[in-house]
Protein backbone atom coordinates (compact mmCIF):
# COMPACT_ATOMS: atom_id res chain seq x y z
CA UNK A 1 0.00 0.00 0.00
CA UNK A 2 1.25 3.43 -0.87
CA UNK A 3 2.24 5.73 1.98
CA UNK A 4 0.25 8.56 0.42
CA UNK A 5 -2.03 8.59 -2.63
CA UNK A 6 -3.22 11.65 -4.50
CA UNK A 7 -5.94 11.59 -7.14
CA UNK A 8 -6.65 14.72 -9.13
CA UNK A 9 -8.69 15.88 -12.09
CA UNK A 10 -6.52 16.49 -15.16
CA UNK A 11 -6.10 20.24 -14.83
CA UNK A 12 -2.72 21.99 -15.08
CA UNK A 13 -3.39 23.89 -11.85
CA UNK A 14 -3.33 20.64 -9.87
CA UNK A 15 0.15 19.64 -11.04
CA UNK A 16 1.68 22.07 -8.57
CA UNK A 17 -0.31 20.47 -5.75
CA UNK A 18 1.00 17.04 -6.75
CA UNK A 19 4.55 18.38 -6.78
CA UNK A 20 4.18 19.92 -3.34
CA UNK A 21 2.70 16.75 -1.84
CA UNK A 22 5.39 14.57 -3.40
CA UNK A 23 8.16 16.82 -2.11
CA UNK A 24 6.67 16.90 1.37
CA UNK A 25 6.30 13.12 1.53
CA UNK A 26 9.82 12.63 0.14
CA UNK A 27 11.22 14.91 2.84
CA UNK A 28 9.28 13.08 5.52
CA UNK A 29 10.52 9.76 4.12
CA UNK A 30 14.13 10.77 4.54
CA UNK A 31 15.08 11.53 0.96
CA UNK A 32 18.18 13.68 1.04
CA UNK A 33 17.49 17.42 0.89
CA UNK A 34 19.76 17.73 -2.13
CA UNK A 35 17.46 15.37 -4.06
CA UNK A 36 14.16 17.07 -3.24
CA UNK A 37 14.41 19.43 -6.20
CA UNK A 38 14.88 16.40 -8.46
CA UNK A 39 11.83 14.69 -6.96
CA UNK A 40 9.80 17.86 -7.42
CA UNK A 41 10.82 18.29 -11.05
CA UNK A 42 10.43 14.63 -12.00
CA UNK A 43 6.96 14.33 -10.44
CA UNK A 44 5.94 17.57 -12.13
CA UNK A 45 7.08 16.24 -15.50
CA UNK A 46 5.18 12.98 -15.09
CA UNK A 47 2.01 14.75 -13.97
CA UNK A 48 2.25 17.36 -16.75
CA UNK A 49 2.54 14.61 -19.34
CA UNK A 50 -0.44 12.81 -17.85
CA UNK A 51 -2.55 15.99 -17.72
CA UNK A 52 -1.78 16.82 -21.33
CA UNK A 53 -2.68 13.29 -22.44
CA UNK A 54 -5.86 13.17 -20.35
CA UNK A 55 -7.08 16.52 -21.64
CA UNK A 56 -6.84 15.22 -25.19
CA UNK A 57 -8.13 11.69 -24.69
CA UNK A 58 -10.04 11.28 -21.43
CA UNK A 59 -10.65 14.59 -19.63
CA UNK A 60 -13.19 13.03 -17.27
CA UNK A 61 -10.77 10.50 -15.84
CA UNK A 62 -8.59 11.25 -12.80
CA UNK A 63 -4.82 10.91 -12.57
CA UNK A 64 -3.38 8.90 -9.69
CA UNK A 65 -0.11 9.58 -7.89
CA UNK A 66 1.09 6.96 -5.41
CA UNK A 67 3.97 7.81 -3.09
CA UNK A 68 5.60 4.91 -1.29
CA UNK A 69 8.37 4.73 1.26
CA UNK A 70 9.44 1.09 1.63
CA UNK A 71 12.29 1.82 3.99
CA UNK A 72 14.93 1.57 1.30
CA UNK A 73 13.59 3.69 -1.51
CA UNK A 74 11.09 6.45 -2.08
CA UNK A 75 8.95 5.62 -5.10
CA UNK A 76 6.47 7.73 -7.03
CA UNK A 77 4.07 6.15 -9.52
CA UNK A 78 1.96 8.39 -11.74
CA UNK A 79 -0.80 6.44 -13.45
CA UNK A 80 -2.91 7.74 -16.29
CA UNK A 81 -5.94 6.27 -18.07
CA UNK A 82 -4.88 7.05 -21.62
CA UNK A 83 -5.00 4.07 -24.02
CA UNK A 84 -1.57 2.84 -25.11
CA UNK A 85 -1.96 3.85 -28.75
CA UNK A 86 -2.82 7.41 -27.74
CA UNK A 87 -0.06 7.46 -25.13
CA UNK A 88 2.50 7.12 -27.90
CA UNK A 89 1.61 10.67 -28.94
CA UNK A 90 2.79 11.82 -25.53
CA UNK A 91 6.25 10.37 -25.52
CA UNK A 92 5.59 6.80 -24.45
CA UNK A 93 7.20 4.81 -27.24
CA UNK A 94 7.22 1.40 -25.64
CA UNK A 95 4.94 0.54 -22.77
CA UNK A 96 5.18 -3.23 -22.78
CA UNK A 97 8.40 -3.70 -20.84
CA UNK A 98 9.93 -1.95 -17.88
CA UNK A 99 12.86 0.18 -18.82
CA UNK A 100 16.17 0.65 -17.07
CA UNK A 101 16.78 3.52 -14.74
CA UNK A 102 19.24 6.32 -14.48
CA UNK A 103 19.03 7.65 -17.98
CA UNK A 104 18.77 4.34 -19.82
CA UNK A 105 15.05 4.43 -20.43
CA UNK A 106 14.28 2.93 -23.81
CA UNK A 107 10.68 3.96 -23.47
CA UNK A 108 11.43 7.64 -23.62
CA UNK A 109 13.27 9.94 -25.91
CA UNK A 110 16.91 9.73 -24.86
CA UNK A 111 18.02 12.73 -22.86
CA UNK A 112 21.08 13.26 -24.96
CA UNK A 113 20.10 15.08 -28.09
CA UNK A 114 16.48 15.13 -27.05
CA UNK A 115 16.24 18.78 -27.81
CA UNK A 116 18.20 18.70 -31.01
CA UNK A 117 14.80 18.34 -32.59
CA UNK A 118 13.50 21.49 -30.95
CA UNK A 119 11.71 23.37 -33.64
CA UNK A 120 10.59 20.21 -35.39
CA UNK A 121 7.94 17.74 -34.41
CA UNK A 122 6.09 20.30 -32.38
CA UNK A 123 3.22 19.04 -30.30
CA UNK A 124 0.61 21.64 -29.53
CA UNK A 125 0.67 25.31 -28.75
CA UNK A 126 2.47 25.16 -25.42
CA UNK A 127 4.90 22.34 -25.91
CA UNK A 128 7.54 23.53 -28.30
CA UNK A 129 9.78 20.57 -27.58
CA UNK A 130 9.48 17.07 -29.01
CA UNK A 131 7.02 14.82 -27.18
CA UNK A 132 8.87 12.69 -24.68
CA UNK A 133 11.28 15.32 -23.41
CA UNK A 134 9.50 15.28 -20.06
CA UNK A 135 10.12 11.56 -19.75
CA UNK A 136 13.71 12.03 -20.80
CA UNK A 137 14.12 14.59 -18.03
CA UNK A 138 12.69 12.12 -15.50
CA UNK A 139 15.11 9.44 -16.66
CA UNK A 140 17.94 11.87 -16.03
CA UNK A 141 16.74 12.72 -12.53
CA UNK A 142 15.48 9.50 -10.92
CA UNK A 143 17.68 6.68 -9.64
CA UNK A 144 15.29 4.25 -11.29
CA UNK A 145 12.64 4.86 -13.92
CA UNK A 146 10.07 2.50 -15.45
CA UNK A 147 7.15 2.82 -17.83
CA UNK A 148 4.62 0.02 -17.86
CA UNK A 149 1.00 -0.71 -18.77
CA UNK A 150 -1.47 -0.15 -15.93
CA UNK A 151 -5.07 -1.09 -16.52
CA UNK A 152 -6.30 0.90 -19.50
CA UNK A 153 -3.45 3.36 -19.23
CA UNK A 154 0.22 3.74 -18.41
CA UNK A 155 2.18 4.13 -15.22
CA UNK A 156 5.38 6.09 -14.93
CA UNK A 157 7.35 4.92 -11.90
CA UNK A 158 10.39 6.67 -10.54
CA UNK A 159 12.33 6.13 -7.36
CA UNK A 160 15.16 7.50 -5.28
CA UNK A 161 17.26 5.92 -2.58
CA UNK A 162 16.59 7.11 0.92
CA UNK A 163 19.64 8.78 2.38
CA UNK A 164 18.66 8.99 6.03
CA UNK A 165 16.17 7.78 8.59
CA UNK A 166 13.06 9.92 8.75
CA UNK A 167 12.71 12.28 11.63
Amino acid sequence: MATVEVTFTPLPAHVRTARLVATAVARRSGVDESLLDEVRLAVGEACSRAVEAHQKHCPGQPIRVALTDDGERFEVVVTDAVPAEAAQLHGVVTVAAPVGGNGTASGAVPASGAVSGAGTGMNGAIMQLPAGVGLAVISGLADDFRISPAGDGTSVAMSWKRRADPA
Partner: protein, 116 residues
Protein backbone atom coordinates in the same frame (compact mmCIF):
# COMPACT_ATOMS: atom_id res chain seq x y z
CA UNK B 1 3.99 30.63 -5.80
CA UNK B 2 2.29 31.96 -8.88
CA UNK B 3 4.09 33.53 -11.82
CA UNK B 4 4.90 37.23 -11.90
CA UNK B 5 5.95 38.83 -15.16
CA UNK B 6 7.32 42.26 -16.00
CA UNK B 7 9.34 43.82 -18.78
CA UNK B 8 11.29 46.95 -19.58
CA UNK B 9 13.59 48.24 -22.26
CA UNK B 10 17.26 48.74 -21.61
CA UNK B 11 19.70 49.88 -24.28
CA UNK B 12 17.32 48.77 -27.02
CA UNK B 13 16.90 45.28 -25.59
CA UNK B 14 13.64 44.16 -24.00
CA UNK B 15 14.28 42.57 -20.61
CA UNK B 16 11.61 40.20 -19.30
CA UNK B 17 11.63 39.67 -15.52
CA UNK B 18 10.15 36.34 -14.45
CA UNK B 19 9.40 35.46 -10.84
CA UNK B 20 7.84 32.31 -9.42
CA UNK B 21 7.11 28.94 -10.98
CA UNK B 22 7.01 28.19 -14.71
CA UNK B 23 5.07 24.99 -15.26
CA UNK B 24 2.22 23.55 -17.33
CA UNK B 25 -0.22 25.88 -15.56
CA UNK B 26 1.68 29.16 -15.72
CA UNK B 27 3.78 28.74 -18.86
CA UNK B 28 1.00 29.93 -21.22
CA UNK B 29 1.20 33.41 -19.63
CA UNK B 30 4.92 33.65 -20.35
CA UNK B 31 4.30 32.37 -23.86
CA UNK B 32 1.66 35.04 -24.45
CA UNK B 33 3.99 37.77 -23.21
CA UNK B 34 6.83 36.64 -25.47
CA UNK B 35 4.48 36.46 -28.46
CA UNK B 36 3.13 39.91 -27.64
CA UNK B 37 6.63 41.40 -27.41
CA UNK B 38 7.63 39.87 -30.75
CA UNK B 39 4.41 41.10 -32.34
CA UNK B 40 5.39 44.59 -31.15
CA UNK B 41 8.68 44.17 -33.00
CA UNK B 42 10.88 43.46 -29.99
CA UNK B 43 13.33 40.98 -31.46
CA UNK B 44 16.19 41.34 -28.96
CA UNK B 45 15.04 39.72 -25.72
CA UNK B 46 16.68 38.90 -22.41
CA UNK B 47 14.69 36.73 -20.02
CA UNK B 48 15.81 37.29 -16.44
CA UNK B 49 15.19 34.05 -14.52
CA UNK B 50 17.02 34.92 -11.32
CA UNK B 51 13.77 34.83 -9.33
CA UNK B 52 12.37 31.69 -10.96
CA UNK B 53 11.76 29.04 -8.33
CA UNK B 54 10.71 26.20 -10.61
CA UNK B 55 11.05 25.41 -14.31
CA UNK B 56 9.93 22.28 -16.13
CA UNK B 57 9.99 21.11 -19.74
CA UNK B 58 6.79 23.04 -20.49
CA UNK B 59 8.62 26.22 -19.53
CA UNK B 60 11.60 25.17 -21.61
CA UNK B 61 9.21 24.69 -24.52
CA UNK B 62 7.96 28.25 -24.16
CA UNK B 63 11.52 29.60 -24.14
CA UNK B 64 12.41 27.55 -27.21
CA UNK B 65 9.25 28.82 -28.90
CA UNK B 66 10.26 32.40 -28.06
CA UNK B 67 13.73 31.79 -29.44
CA UNK B 68 12.26 30.49 -32.70
CA UNK B 69 10.08 33.56 -33.06
CA UNK B 70 12.84 36.11 -32.56
CA UNK B 71 15.26 34.18 -34.75
CA UNK B 72 12.73 34.38 -37.56
CA UNK B 73 13.44 38.13 -37.42
CA UNK B 74 17.21 37.71 -36.98
CA UNK B 75 16.73 38.45 -33.29
CA UNK B 76 17.98 36.85 -30.10
CA UNK B 77 16.70 35.50 -26.80
CA UNK B 78 19.27 35.28 -24.02
CA UNK B 79 18.74 34.06 -20.49
CA UNK B 80 19.97 35.28 -17.11
CA UNK B 81 20.26 32.46 -14.62
CA UNK B 82 22.74 31.49 -11.94
CA UNK B 83 20.60 29.05 -9.92
CA UNK B 84 21.95 25.54 -10.14
CA UNK B 85 18.55 23.88 -9.77
CA UNK B 86 17.24 25.78 -12.78
CA UNK B 87 20.40 25.37 -14.83
CA UNK B 88 20.25 21.61 -14.29
CA UNK B 89 17.25 21.14 -16.57
CA UNK B 90 18.99 23.12 -19.31
CA UNK B 91 21.98 20.79 -19.01
CA UNK B 92 19.90 17.60 -18.97
CA UNK B 93 18.14 18.63 -22.17
CA UNK B 94 21.22 20.02 -23.87
CA UNK B 95 19.69 23.48 -24.12
CA UNK B 96 22.79 25.16 -22.69
CA UNK B 97 24.06 24.97 -26.27
CA UNK B 98 20.93 26.61 -27.65
CA UNK B 99 20.58 29.60 -25.33
CA UNK B 100 23.08 32.20 -24.27
CA UNK B 101 22.98 31.94 -20.46
CA UNK B 102 24.45 34.81 -18.48
CA UNK B 103 25.06 35.75 -14.85
CA UNK B 104 23.37 39.16 -14.98
CA UNK B 105 21.17 41.31 -17.17
CA UNK B 106 24.03 43.73 -17.76
CA UNK B 107 26.31 40.90 -18.85
CA UNK B 108 23.67 39.56 -21.22
CA UNK B 109 23.16 42.98 -22.80
CA UNK B 110 26.88 43.62 -23.09
CA UNK B 111 27.42 40.22 -24.72
CA UNK B 112 24.56 40.81 -27.14
CA UNK B 113 25.84 44.26 -28.09
CA UNK B 114 29.32 42.85 -28.66
CA UNK B 115 27.96 40.34 -31.17
CA UNK B 116 26.32 43.02 -33.27
Amino acid sequence: MDLKLGHYNKDGIEVVDVEGEIDVYTAPRLRELLIDLVNKKNYQLVVNMEKVEFLDSTGLGVLVGGLKRVRAHDGSLDLVCTQERILKIFRITGLTKVFGIHDSVDEAITARKAEK
